[in-house]
């Protein structure tokens, strides 16, 4: 299990985590730690490359949830209201955290947990970076 990091440049700098292995409680913990470190160091846009992740356990989904919240930061009461309305209407996707190339079983976990409602899913690295 490993997480390799690359830096891409679109309209904004995008940090890409290339995950490899089953995203279980062990890799999930590693992702949370590495994500928190990157956000503390200034990263604002994070793309998770899931092409080599056979499946995502709930611990991995919880790591996504933590990173989503940490990247959203404090947008104030008005910002929160707009986000919650967008979430309710199904029109809000995180502008800070996106996913690249999830495998079929990973996609099934995302969908079962309802995470695909909030996280954009891309199939091409260049398109994904350009979308931030």
């Amino acid at each position: 299990m490993e997480i390799m990091t690359t830096q891409e440049q679109g309209r904004v700098p995008v940090l890409v985590f290339h995950l490899k292995g089953e995203l279980d409680a062990v890799l999930g913990q590693q992702l949370r730690q590495q994500g928190r470190d990157a956000i503390t160091a200034g990263a604002q846009h994070l793309l998770l490359d899931l092409a080599e992740v056979p499946y995502i356990a709930s611990a991995g989904l919880r790591a996504f949830q933590e990173l989503f919240t940490a990247l959203r930061g404090d947008s104030g009461e008005q910002g929160d209201k707009a986000v919650y309305e967008g979430l309710r209407d199904g029109t809000y996707k995180s502008p800070n955290l996106k996913l690249l190339s999830p495998t079929r079983h990973a996609l099934e976990a995302l969908s079962t947990a309802g995470f695909d409602m909030f996280l954009e899913i891309h199939r091409d690295l260049r398109d994904a970076v350009a979308s931030f």
Binding site: S58, F68, T112, M117
Partner: protein, 145 residues
Amino acid sequence: MSADAFLRISADLGNLDVVRRFVRENAAGLGQNPDALQALIQAVDESVTNIIVHGYRGQPGSIEISLEEAEGCMVIRLRDEAPTFDPTAAPSPDVTSPLEQRPLGGLGIHLTRHMVDELIYCPGPAGGNELRLVKRISRPPDREG
């Protein structure tokens, strides 16, 4: 009923890959259906993680995993000596609520329910817990003629 395969591990998240390998190598009856096998592996991973994290809570302990094929099903039994806890009684999380408002727990059991056909809990006779995960074996239809 005797198990077709048996594994005992210490309650350590570092053993999750051993558990997954055990299921992958021994659930041969599901071999013809890779999706069913993958679903069962994930369900066992979630359940064992739950026992280690929420059952033993970092304390030392062991988990026994047995696997058998019976009546057209793959049955996996997880036995532990952690405090009694019935995960099948846990409510499902609201997966339509805003991501950051959801509690961090409850997802594992939600995914497990989705991955298997039956999830049966029995408290152990002398304490502890037994969780049975049942996955039906669907075989390709016989050719006609």
